[in-house]
C-alpha cells in the first residue's frame, strides 16, 4: 500500500502535447517532398508488369556487359568478392587451367581471359594447396569489404532484433555469419548477441579488432571489448583490450579512460608495480586527469596494506609484465586468445 502510494499515477492532462501545427507542417513538407519525388508506391502502383521485365532485361544486359568487359580487361584490378575464393588454390605456376570453375569452363572453353585471375593470386602461399578453402591470411587481412547488407542486418537496422536473430539462425547461426561479416556487421552482431550470447559478442568484437585494425570501428570495438571482458571478470583481457584501444587510437576520446581502466585493472589484479607505472603514465599524459588523486590514494593504500613481499625494488622477482601499450600506432596483440 505504501509502495503503491509512492508512485502515483500521472494524469494524462499533465503531459504536454508537443505536436504544434508548425512542427506537423514542417514534417509533412519533408514527407511530401520525398513522396512526390520518387515514391516507391508510385512505382509499385504503376504498371509493375511493365517495368519489372524491362528492369530485369536491363539488369541482365548490364551484367553481361560488365561481365564481358571485366573478363577481358585489366589483370591488375582487385575486386574483392568475385576473386576471393579463387585465391587459395592458386599454385605457384601451373594453376591457370585449374582456376576457373567448371561452369565457366563449359561456357567459355577457349577464353584466355581466365588469366585475369592470376594476378589476383600474388606471391605468397606457395605450399598451401592442402587446405581446400582455408583462407590463409599470413600478413594482410582481407582487405575491402563490399558486401551488400545482409537480410538480418536490414532487420537489425529496422529495430527488428528478434527477427534479425531468426534470420541469422536461418543463415546458419551466429558462427556462420560471423565469418563473412564486415566490420559494421560484426559490430551489429555483437550488439545482437550481447544479451544472450556473450561469447559471440566477444568473438565479433575480437574479429573487428584483429582482422580490421584499421577500420574506424576498431578502436571502439577494442574499447567495448575491454568493457565486456571486465564485466566478465577477465581483468587481464580487459586491460589488454584497453591497451589496444590506446594503441589504435592514441589521441582518441577515450584514451584517458582506457588508461585509467588499465590502472584500475592492474590495481584489482594486485599488480602494484605495473599499476604504479601506468598511473605515472596517466599523470604524465593527463596531468589534470580526473582520477589522478584517486589512483594515488589507492596505490598508497595498497602499498600500505601489502608489504613488498618479493623485493622492494621490484627487480628480478617481479613477473614480466606485458610491455607498456605502445603508442606507435601498431595494432598490438589480439585482445584475448580463445
Amino acid at each position: 500500500m505504501s509502495e503503491r502510494s509512492k508512485l502515483p499515477e500521472v494524469p494524462a492532462s499533465a503531459l504536454r502535447d508537443i505536436a504544434t501545427d508548425q512542427r506537423i507542417n514542417r514534417v509533412w513538407r519533408r514527407i511530401d517532398g520525398e513522396l512526390s519525388g520518387a515514391s516507391p508506391r508510385t512505382l509499385r502502383a504503376g504498371a509493375a508488369w511493365l517495368w519489372a521485365p524491362a528492369a530485369a532485361v536491363a539488369v541482365f544486359a548490364l551484367g553481361v556487359f560488365v561481365g564481358a568487359n571485366w573478363m577481358r580487361a585489366q589483370p591488375g584490378a582487385t575486386t574483392a568478392l568475385e576473386a576471393e575464393p579463387l585465391q587459395p588454390p592458386a599454385g605457384p605456376t601451373a594453376a591457370p587451367e585449374v582456376l576457373p570453375s567448371p561452369r565457366e569452363r563449359r561456357d567459355e572453353p577457349k577464353k584466355p581471359a581466365r588469366t585475369r585471375r592470376l594476378p589476383r593470386t600474388p606471391s605468397p602461399l606457395p605450399e598451401l594447396q592442402i587446405a581446400p578453402e582455408a583462407p590463409e591470411q599470413p600478413t594482410q587481412p582481407p582487405a575491402p569489404i563490399t558486401q551488400t547488407s545482409a537480410h538480418w542486418q536490414q532487420l537489425y537496422d529496422e529495430g527488428e532484433f528478434e527477427q534479425a536473430r531468426d534470420a541469422i539462425e536461418t543463415q546458419g547461426g551466429f558462427d556462420a555469419v560471423l565469418g563473412q561479416a564486415s566490420p559494421e556487421q560484426l559490430f551489429a552482431l555483437s550488439d545482437l548477441a550481447r544479451s544472450d550470447n556473450r561469447a559471440i559478442a566477444l568473438a565479433a568484437l575480437r574479429e573487428v579488432v584483429n582482422k580490421y585494425p584499421h577500420n574506424p570501428n576498431a578502436p571502439i570495438a577494442a574499447y567495448q571489448l575491454g568493457v565486456m571482458l571486465k564485466k566478465a571478470g577477465d581483468l587481464a583481457g580487459a586491460a589488454r583490450a584497453f591497451a589496444i584501444y590506446r594503441a589504435l587510437s592514441p589521441d582518441g576520446d577515450f584514451s584517458e579512460d582506457a588508461l585509467a581502466r588499465q590502472v584500475e585493472a592492474a590495481i584489482e589484479q594486485g599488480e602494484l608495480v605495473l599499476a604504479r607505472q601506468l598511473a605515472e603514465q596517466y599523470a604524465k599524459e593527463f596531468p589534470t586527469g580526473e582520477r589522478l588523486d584517486e589512483f594515488r590514494e589507492e596505490l598508497e593504500a595498497a602499498a600500505a596494506y601489502v608489504p613488498p613481499t618479493p623485493a622492494p625494488d621490484a627487480g628480478s622477482a617481479e613477473p614480466i609484465r606485458p610491455a607498456e601499450p605502445v603508442d606507435d600506432g601498431s595494432p598490438g596483440d589480439p585482445p584475448d586468445a580463445p
Binding site: P11, A14, L15, R16, I18, W28, I31
Partner: protein, 226 residues
C-alpha cells in the same frame, strides 16, 4: 483505381449530406482541393488507407495530419525528450507509406503506425545505450518541458522528472512498455500491440519497470512517514 473511385463517390455523397459546401469530385480525377485537404479529410481510416494504397497522396496527407500528433507525442514520451522527434515521425510515416500493403486491418492504422514509431524509437534508444556503454555519446537527456504540460503542478512535474530519470536506467523494452501503460494510459492489449510482443511479455516488461520504479521512486515534496 476502381476502388479509389468508389471511395471518392462515397466521400462526395458523405460530404453532400453534411451540407454541400464541398464540391463533388470524381474519384478518378485529382480533386481540386479547396482548403487543400477538402472532403478527403472526412473519410475514415480504412478508406484513407485504401486510397493511399492506390497512391493518393492527399489521402496519405489526411492520414498523416490525423495521426501525426499521436506519433510525435508517443515518440517524445518514450524518449523523454524531443530530440530528433521530427525525424522519427518522418521516418515512421515514410515507412508506413512504403508498407501500407502489409497493413491487414486498415482501420487499425493508428496502432500499426504506433508500432512503427515504437520500433524506431526503440532502435534509437538501443543505439544510444550501446554507444553510451562504450562511452560514446551523451546520456539521454530528459526534457521536462517537452514532457510535462505547462499547466501541470510542480509536484507532478517533479514526479515526472524523477520517473524519467529512473526510466533512463531501465532496459528500453521495459521502459517503453511502462511508458505506454502508465503515461500514455494504453490498455495492456494495445501496449502489446504497440510493442509487437505478446500480452504476457508486455505484462512482464511493465511489471519489471514498475517494480524498479517503485523501489527507487521517492515521493517529492512529501515527507516520508517515519
Amino acid at each position: 483505381m476502381g476502388h479509389a473511385a468508389s471511395i471518392h463517390c462515397a466521400m462526395a455523397a458523405q460530404s453532400a449530406s453534411h451540407g454541400a459546401r464541398l464540391r463533388l469530385v470524381r474519384g478518378d480525377q485529382d480533386p481540386q482541393r479547396p482548403n487543400r485537404l477538402g472532403p478527403t479529410a472526412e473519410l475514415g481510416s480504412a478508406q484513407l488507407v485504401s486510397l493511399a494504397r492506390e497512391n493518393d497522396l492527399l489521402a496519405f496527407e489526411v492520414l498523416y495530419r490525423r495521426h501525426a500528433a499521436f506519433a510525435m507525442n508517443l515518440a517524445v514520451r518514450i524518449q523523454g525528450n524531443a530530440t530528433d522527434v521530427e525525424d522519427v515521425v518522418h521516418d515512421a510515416f515514410l515507412r508506413a507509406h512504403a508498407r501500407l500493403d502489409e497493413l491487414r486491418d486498415p482501420d487499425a492504422f493508428r496502432a500499426w503506425l504506433g508500432a512503427i514509431v515504437v520500433r524506431l524509437v526503440r532502435t534509437r534508444l538501443r543505439r544510444r545505450r550501446l554507444l553510451r556503454s562504450v562511452g560514446l555519446g551523451a546520456a539521454d537527456s530528459v526534457e521536462l518541458d517537452s514532457i510535462a504540460s505547462h499547466e501541470a503542478s510542480p509536484e507532478i512535474r517533479a514526479q515526472l522528472a524523477q520517473v524519467y530519470a529512473l526510466l533512463r536506467t531501465v532496459a528500453p523494452d521495459d521502459r517503453i512498455a511502462w511508458t505506454l501503460r502508465h503515461l500514455e494510459h494504453h490498455r495492456l492489449e494495445t501496449v502489446a500491440e504497440l510493442c509487437s510482443c505478446s500480452l504476457a511479455t508486455a505484462k512482464r516488461r511493465i511489471h519489471r519497470a514498475h517494480k524498479f520504479l517503485q523501489e527507487h521512486f521517492v515521493t517529492p515534496f512529501v515527507e516520508e512517514p517515519a
